[in-house]
């Protein structure tokens, strides 16, 4: 189904740069990666198209991809002692982290789904805006708020973008991989493992004998 939708989208929006993200696992649940600028238009098309009629967004989730270092082997030609040779070299490249909003769409009238729609932000530390799809699917309202709360994606055009689970004064986004929870899990009658090590380290820092 996703492949058919992808082909039709390619025909309808040839300039949009929509990608098909393959899922190599047995489930084969491929997803559509839509550039943020086109997402609203594409979403409206998917909802209204008589063939697909994806009229129900069942789920919105967030994904955090922290920055990582990629090692790549590059082959290049070099002239060594007058002879041209192929030299292999390992190059380390830093990939900036990004956030992803994933929408699971179903069609109630056509009885098919899910179709997975993804949007990616830019660098997760600076550029975290994505267009809100709440105007397209009303059911995304609270779920986009939750993604905003826990991942920090700012959905432009959302009617009421406030934190959903944490309090308004809270500044962190706890589901991000670099989030550090407050260190308040210390007291246990029989501390062990990580917690014991943490408490002992803190005692040593404060000059006490743990």
């Amino acid at each position: 189904m996703t492949t058919a939708i992808f082909e039709k989208l390619q025909k309808t929006f040839p300039e949009a740069g929509i990608e098909l993200v393959n899922n190599p696992s047995p489930s084969g649940q491929h997803s559509l990666l839509v550039p943020a600028a086109q997402a609203r238009k594409v979403a409206e098309f998917l909802r209204d198209d008589p063939e697909f009629r994806l009229d129900y967004a069942s789920n919105v989730s967030g994904v955090d991809n922290p920055p990582k270092k990629l090692k790549e082997t590059v082959t290049r030609k070099e002239v060594v002692e007058g002879v041209e040779k192929e030299v292999k070299e390992t190059v380390e490249r830093e990939v900036p982290g990004y956030l992803e909003a994933v929408y699971h769409l179903y069609s109630i009238s056509k009885k098919h789904g899910p179709v997975v729609l993804r949007m990616r932000t830019g660098d997760r530390d600076k550029d975290v805006a994505l267009p809100s799809l709440t105007p397209v699917w009303k059911s995304a309202d609270f779920q986009e708020r939750e993604v905003f709360d826990l991942f920090g994606i700012r959905f432009a055009g959302h009617p009421d973008l406030r934190r959903l689970l944490m309090w308004d004064e809270f500044v962190d986004h706890p589901m991000r991989k670099d989030y550090v929870a407050p260190d308040d899990c210390d007291y246990e009658p029989t501390p062990h493992g990580e917690i014991l090590a943490r408490v002992q380290a803190r005692g040593a820092a404060a000059g006490e004998v743990a």
């Binding site: 689970l165 309090w167 004064e169 809270f170 962190d172 407050p182 308040d184 007291y187 009658p189 005692g203």
Partner: protein
């Protein structure tokens, strides 16, 4: 104090004697109104304990009040999230003396299975004094009734006069504890040191 042996001897002959404290506490312990207040799955067991099969009315605690002003005890039934904690403390402050707290279930006692979560308070005893802790996840209704009986025993043993008198005999106004505020990363303060005094952690060596 009346000698217990003399008391039972007199009782056999049809003479009943009791101190003022005994009668006062007997009345209090058999009519405990609790605050109608459930936070998670423990509340389901609390409802079961109040309903026909387990029948908390046998112990005089079946009246659940929807207002802290009319309640004698608070059953903290379930996970206290950090977002909920200030409201629990505020409700406690609004209860008139004498007032008691039952922490029901692993979550209310220590955070339970969610102890390492960023959003869960690691035990309500960080902010308010807990009289009876009922372990279990969730505790069965019998366990709640056992906790209630323990609380009744505690009330029966409370003194109204003398140096060891109960907190409520000592003061006119209800005991109040500072309500934590929502901070940028955590509740502020993360615990109330006047109430929460854990034993220092011992090392294994």
């Amino acid at each position: 104090m009346v000698d217990e042996e003399l008391k039972s001897e007199l009782q056999k002959r049809g003479v009943f004697i009791a101190s003022f404290e005994d009668i006062y506490n007997w009345g209090r312990k058999n009519s405990l109104w609790s605050l109608q207040f459930g936070l998670a799955c423990c509340a389901i067991e609390m409802i079961a304990a109040a309903a026909a099969r387990f029948d908390m009315a046998r112990f005089g605690a079946e009246v659940f009040r929807p207002s802290p002003r009319q309640a004698d005890m608070m059953i903290i039934a379930g996970t206290v999230t950090k977002k909920m904690a200030p409201l629990v403390v505020r409700l406690y402050n609004q209860m008139p003396e004498p007032k008691y707290v039952l922490a029901m279930g692993a979550c209310a006692i220590s955070g339970g299975p969610f102890k390492e979560g960023y959003n869960v308070l690691k035990g309500i005893d960080r902010y308010i004094p807990v009289d009876v802790a009922i372990p279990g996840c969730p505790p069965r209704p019998e366990a709640l009734l056992e906790g209630l009986i323990k609380l009744q025993e505690k009330i029966a043993a409370q003194r109204l006069f003398g140096p060891n008198r109960a907190r409520h005999a000592d003061r006119q106004d209800a005991a109040e504890y500072p309500v934590p505020s929502y901070g940028p990363h955590d509740l502020e303060p993360p615990c109330n040191p006047d109430v929460f005094r854990p034993e220092p952690v011992k090392s294994e060596e």
